[in-house]
């Protein structure tokens, strides 16, 4: 998925997450240069590798229906009044996005870490089907050992998910990309 986060001078916060499902979607490209999606894969349907019991009845394919989505543009604002922290975050990589956004929000709102640090810290993702806990390359080794001691099967991967964010505190606004991304960019109008 690709993410766009905007905090403008008009006091609006906008977060967009869009996707084609698999890389290059279906791989079908029209003469006008439009690459078409493969979003039907997000429905729950029986294929060779899954069984009936794990089918989600609410996400079965039906004409005109939208499939379950882990595209999660998320906005945070003070619960009362207007003073305080405003945040918008987005993430990619399917259901790993949910996991990563949760951890970034905990870092900012619970541990009061700044946005840059919150995005750069190591993240984990519990894979439900395999019961493996994926951790990214930024995850400290000592913490991996502790998690293993508690019965987690930990697998270290390079990147779990990319999370970008923008933060506004009063009139100070900053856009921050995930440091794991080489290509992403955050820019601020001063």
């Amino acid at each position: 998925a690709s993410q766009v986060l905007v905090m403008g001078p008009d006091d609006y916060i906008v977060a967009v997450v869009s996707s084609l499902n698999r890389p290059f979607g279906s791989g079908i490209i029209t003469p006008s240069g439009i690459l078409l999606n493969s979003q039907m894969l997000d429905f729950s349907w029986l294929n060779k590798t899954s069984n009936h019991s794990s089918l989600s009845p609410r996400n079965l394919i039906q004409p005109g229906k939208r499939p379950l989505s882990f595209l999660l543009p998320t906005v945070v604002r003070p619960a009362e009044g207007m003073c305080g922290t405003y945040l918008c975050v987005g993430a990619n990589n399917g259901d790993k996005a949910l996991s990563s956004i949760t951890q970034v929000l905990v870092n900012v709102l619970t541990f009061n870490k700044n946005l840059s640090e919150s995005l750069s810290l190591g993240r984990l993702y519990p894979q439900l089907q395999s019961n493996i806990l994926q951790v990214d390359s930024e995850f400290p080794q000592e913490d991996i050992e502790f998690l293993e001691a508690r019965g987690h099967h930990v697998d270290k991967v390079k990147v779990v998910s990319l999370v970008h964010g923008a933060r506004r505190t009063n009139n100070f606004i900053i856009g921050v990309k995930d440091p794991r991304s080489v290509d992403a960019a955050g820019a601020t109008i001063l």
């Binding site: 690709s2 006091d11 089918l55 989600s56 595209l71 001063l190």
Partner: protein
């Protein structure tokens, strides 16, 4: 005589004109005192003075001052020195001019102050509305690619709205990183108005074609990738967002994105990596020409141009979203999808609409969290935060414990997410969402977490299968 003089002095001293009430009972000097013409004249003047003093009751201050000036010298002259007194009796009322002048002066000063204050206030108000801003409003844009971030900033600098910037940047992202998104796909936008504290979710997720059947999908071979294609929602979503929040013209926004495709851009590391990871070899010639020119994968930093996409964006910019959903582009997409075994029809395109919804929300540690409603997994995110809030995670708790709790919480949240679906097709989804985002439900789910031991996912709540992929 000396005794009488002393008596008069002491009397005067006792009625010092410090006290207003004392002054009003100013002693009358003996009128029976003999003294010829000068004495008569003095007496007459004294009577006039007394008459005047009687009229000054309404202004104690001026009375005190005038009494001090007039009465004391006059009294002293009566004490035997009136011939040498430098003071002269005047026929003109000494108070009439000065006093009124003093009152007028005060009025002038007050009037001047009020005028000045009013002028300054008006000037300040005009400065606020018409002058240069004294507090500079900032803005920030973050995207997956430098040119798209720059484009978003450019739109903001052109006085475009935040949504305008997001539209241009999102379309740009589909050009620069065509493996992740594009106008052939879909997504979701969350817009929050800080001042009004209002939020809207624009859901432009793809929909399943009307002729799709699960049985067909199950039996489909790899060659029938057309069956995987849903009705693209990107253009409708951007157009809907523009109708609601746009400030620049639609054609200008799409023109800016088309400019990126027309003028070219450097291939990102991410796109180059995605091209090298292409496993399937049955891509069309058009696909190969675009992403594997001369049989070689694109390399990071290479200049890439997409004139085909630029023309498409210009067309949609000029003719509006209908060009994509009921024009030649529609026919082209349908035809191409059918070539690959798909079932998209014109009806799918004409019936497609981007939906505007309210986000799901919760309060987490004094902050309002807003996320998209189903079929998006926002309620599961809300549930995760509600569970974590009750675990009282603080910086005093060890990091390892925190990670363990987060891992266990996410297992529950992801399991909950797997039960979600499109609420338009299953009314029970709404009820599930209400339950999922409630704090009381979070309390119940929190009890499932063991502080010292990890449990296999699905032990407490069985999860539904979710494709582990890039979506």
């Amino acid at each position: 005589a000396a005794e009488k003089e002393a008596s008069q002095q002491s009397t005067l001293g006792a009625y010092s004109p410090v006290d207003y009430m004392s002054i009003t009972s100013f002693p009358r000097l003996p009128e029976e005192e003999p003294g010829g013409a000068a004495a008569e004249s003095c007496l007459r003047a004294r009577k006039e003075e007394d008459a005047f003093l009687g009229e000054q009751d309404t202004d104690p201050d001026s009375f005190l001052k005038s009494a001090r000036l007039q009465r004391l010298p006059s009294s002293s002259s009566e004490m035997g020195s009136q011939d040498v007194s430098p003071l002269r009796e005047t026929s003109k009322d000494p108070f009439s001019g000065d006093c009124s002048c003093r009152q007028d002066g005060l009025t002038v000063i007050i009037t001047a102050c009020l005028t000045f204050a009013t002028g300054v206030t008006v000037a300040l108000i005009m400065q606020i509305y018409f002058g240069d801003p004294q507090i500079f409003h900032q803005g920030a844009v973050v995207t997956d690619a430098v040119p798209c971030t720059a484009l978003g900033i450019e739109v903001l600098n052109k006085q475009g709205s935040s949504v305008d910037a997001a539209i241009a940047s999102a379309l740009c992202a589909g050009i620069i990183n065509p493996h992740t998104s594009g106008i052939g796909g879909g997504g979701v936008m969350l817009v929050h108005d800080i001042r009004k504290n209002e939020s809207q979710v624009i859901d432009f997720r793809e929909t399943a074609p009307f002729e799709i059947q699960e049985e067909v999908l199950q039996k489909a071979s790899e060659a029938k990738v057309g069956l995987l294609v849903g009705v693209p929602g990107m253009i409708q979503g951007m157009h809907k967002a523009h109708q609601l929040y746009g400030r620049l013209s639609w054609s200008e926004l799409l023109g800016l994105a088309a400019g990126i495709a027309q003028n070219g851009f450097n291939v990102t590391h991410d796109l180059a990596k995605a091209v090298t990871e292409l496993k399937e070899l049955n891509y069309s010639d058009r696909f190969r020409e675009t992403f594997l020119p001369e049989g070689q994968p694109l390399l990071a930093g290479m200049l890439m141009k997409r004139p085909d996409l630029a023309n498409t964006l210009d067309l949609v910019g000029a003719e509006g979203a209908s060009a994509f959903y009921s024009g030649n582009l529609t026919q082209e997409i349908i035809s191409e999808v059918k070539n690959y075994g798909g079932v998209l029809t014109e009806v799918d395109f004409s019936n497609y609409s981007a939906l505007v919804k309210n986000p799901v929300h919760t309060v987490y540690r004094g902050h309002l969290i807003l996320s998209p409603p189903p079929p998006h997994a926002g309620p599961a995110l809300i549930s995760a935060l509600n569970i974590l809030e009750g675990l009282n995670i603080t910086s005093q708790i060890s990091r390892e414990n925190t990670f363990h709790w987060i891992a266990e919480t996410l297992k529950i949240a992801l399991t909950l997410a797997s039960s979600l679906g499109d609420p338009s097709y299953d009314a029970s989804v709404e009820a599930s969402v209400e339950d999922m985002v409630s704090k009381s439900k979070a309390g119940v789910l929190r009890q499932l977490i063991n502080d010292s031991q990890s449990f296999p996912s699905g032990l407490h709540i069985p999860p539904f299968s979710m494709e582990s992929g890039h979506s």
